[in-house]
Symmetry: C2
Subunit: 363 residues, 2 copies
């Protein structure tokens, strides 16, 4: 285009100094560059060890990544954090939807930060697409705790397999601990098999309940009550107080039906209100007594060591099975043999032999 | 030696016909030959299908054999018997030593044969060297039942692994059923993990108890009460009757704490005396009601089918693990990695990855 002809009138103004761009292009390029550039493993580890929550979040995202190219870096970060981890108490909290897990964790977490503790809240929810309103997916429900400088809240790790989710959660625990969090709360939605997985990664297992219409014990998933070190009856406020106390008596009786625990701990029942905060301090007091006991009798360290062995073996066994069942020829033969077993043409053991011979290439 | 000279006297008697040997050498050779000669698979199957207990015993011994050369024949026998099996009810009976399992099974078994049933009693005891006086190891304790033409009692299958014992027991069940036994009782000693294995191979699970000093529910192994379809309080005779009735009330209450069973059956409690035989008929009546219910609602067949799938998968998974952990190079590396995990130098997941890469030859 031609240069516009300057009109020769009094109205013409000379070109002045050009208005500078309000944002420097160089700065834009720098920021874009920074965003693209992922921090190195060393940068992440240094950030975590310095207590930087942003570095922590990025590292957790890295270990949660399903991108195989991230695996090596994630492993490096985990292994560097490991010597700085393990200095915490890990508390599992479960309860069916509606018992008020989010309000309880908020009130409980605030109480702990008030005592000078650094609290990390993680969630395990292997069926996140199925669960209706997993609390931690919705951070806004824990408004107070989210704003607390001494708290860190991380929504559900997701994954296809419970093993995968468990692995990610275990590794997130390590990262949180290396970041200086001394009280790790693992929340699970209380409707699936995730309780067992969570039970295998925490030091203490808390079952949250509300007092119901009478028959308190009906409908508790098998085994969950056996795992509980403490049952907390939530929403013990207003008209509910009396019912909560009755429920406490009933649960206490039920807990005595179970054999003594290896920890030497007799499971307890407390009532609390996440609204009036009554019972929250008592609940923490009870949990502290558990840690005093199990640290004194060495059960605490013994159990962590057992959990490590468990996850090592569990991971191996899961992978061995995955390798077997994912082979296409095996899957086809399995289908065929299953039918023969159902029709009583083959015993399950004979069918297994045929499949194993195929797998190990013996026939 | 020279032929003795015949003395020429009146006392001499002429040689008569030689006294024949009282036992024919040919017959001896034949019997020895028969003993050495194991019956063929077809002979065993024919014997079993004809209801011959000797053939049944020989076939069970064959499937219990750890001699690999017997495996093929055992498999052939099992597979030929399979189409004739499955027409029975399978009842698991457990209880800690001292509750009177042998006397109960004797009284209960006699009651059943009195009703025209054919009863086979098998035992699962994976820790036979540890258990003190496994009842079925000592057949003489069931004198009456042993003599009963319609009963068959087989002492414990032994084995190194629970899986191995379970396999042998499952196969013995098939053989007993093919032999015409319509009521299979599987006894387990109630002190180990064998209850879960037995639960996975029976249609009905009976827990035998005695009334104790008060706190009836203490000391019951976790999970065993949950598996029970019926709790029978034994030794409800003489001074014990009152206590047994109290125990019945307490167990009934405890059973209601558990969630409803998939079978649709509400577990029950009965009292009985193996001495006065009071309650034995009622106990069988209750078990019959369970079978009426579960056959009507199709749970009976569904569960057998599930059990077949379970044992197929279980056998495969056990063998996959056995193959992995028995490799010497793997065992050495595992030991080394376990230490690194305990020292927090390696996460359990990273350790598992290293081992799996080695096993699958990736590194």
């Amino acid at each position: 285009m031609d240069k516009p002809k300057i009109p020769n009138t009094a109205l013409h103004e000379r070109d002045g100094i050009a208005q500078p761009q309000s944002i420097s292009n160089k700065a834009i390029a720098h920021v874009i560059q920074l965003r693209k550039k992922q921090p190195s493993a060393i940068e992440l580890v240094n950030g975590i060890l310095a207590g930087d929550k942003t570095a922590l979040s990025r590292a957790i995202t890295l270990v949660e990544s399903t991108n195989p190219s991230h695996l090596e870096k994630a492993t490096a970060v985990i292994n560097s954090c490991l010597p700085h981890a393990n200095k915490s108490v890990r508390i599992g909290i479960t309860g069916v939807p509606g018992v008020g897990k989010s309000t309880f964790i908020e009130a409980f977490g605030k109480h702990l930060t008030g005592l000078g503790k650094k609290v990390a809240v993680l969630a395990v929810d292997p069926s996140s697409s199925l669960s209706h309103g997993s609390i931690l997916g919705d951070k806004t429900r824990m408004e107070e705790l989210v704003k607390d400088a001494n708290a860190y809240i991380r929504p559900s790790a997701s994954g296809d397999t419970l093993g995968g989710v468990a692995r990610k959660t275990r590794e997130a625990i390590i990262l949180c601990e290396a970041c200086g969090f001394d009280t790790i709360i693992i929340e699970t939605v209380g409707v699936g098999q995730s309780e067992t997985a969570v039970h295998s990664m925490v030091d203490f297992f808390l079952l949250l309940k509300i007092s119901g219409a009478g028959d308190e014990l009906q409908g508790i998933k098998r085994g969950i009550m056996e795992m509980a070190d403490l049952i907390v009856i939530n929403k013990a406020d207003g008209d509910n107080i009396k019912r909560a106390k009755l429920a406490k008596t009933e649960f206490n009786r039920a807990l005595h039906l179970f054999p003594a625990k290896a920890s030497g701990w007799q499971p307890k029942v407390t009532t609390c209100s996440s609204i009036t905060h009554e019972g929250i301090a008592e609940t923490w007091q009870t949990i502290s007594e558990f840690f005093d006991l199990t640290k004194a009798n060495d059960f605490f360290g013994f159990r962590r060591s057992e959990q490590n062995s468990y996850w090592l073996t569990e991971t191996i066994n899961e992978q061995l099975k995955a390798n077997f069942y994912s082979r296409e020829d095996i899957a086809a033969l399995l289908e065929q043999n299953k039918k023969a077993v159902q029709n009583n043409e083959l015993s399950p053991f004979a069918a297994a032999s045929i499949l194993l011979e195929k797998y190990f290439g013996l026939k």
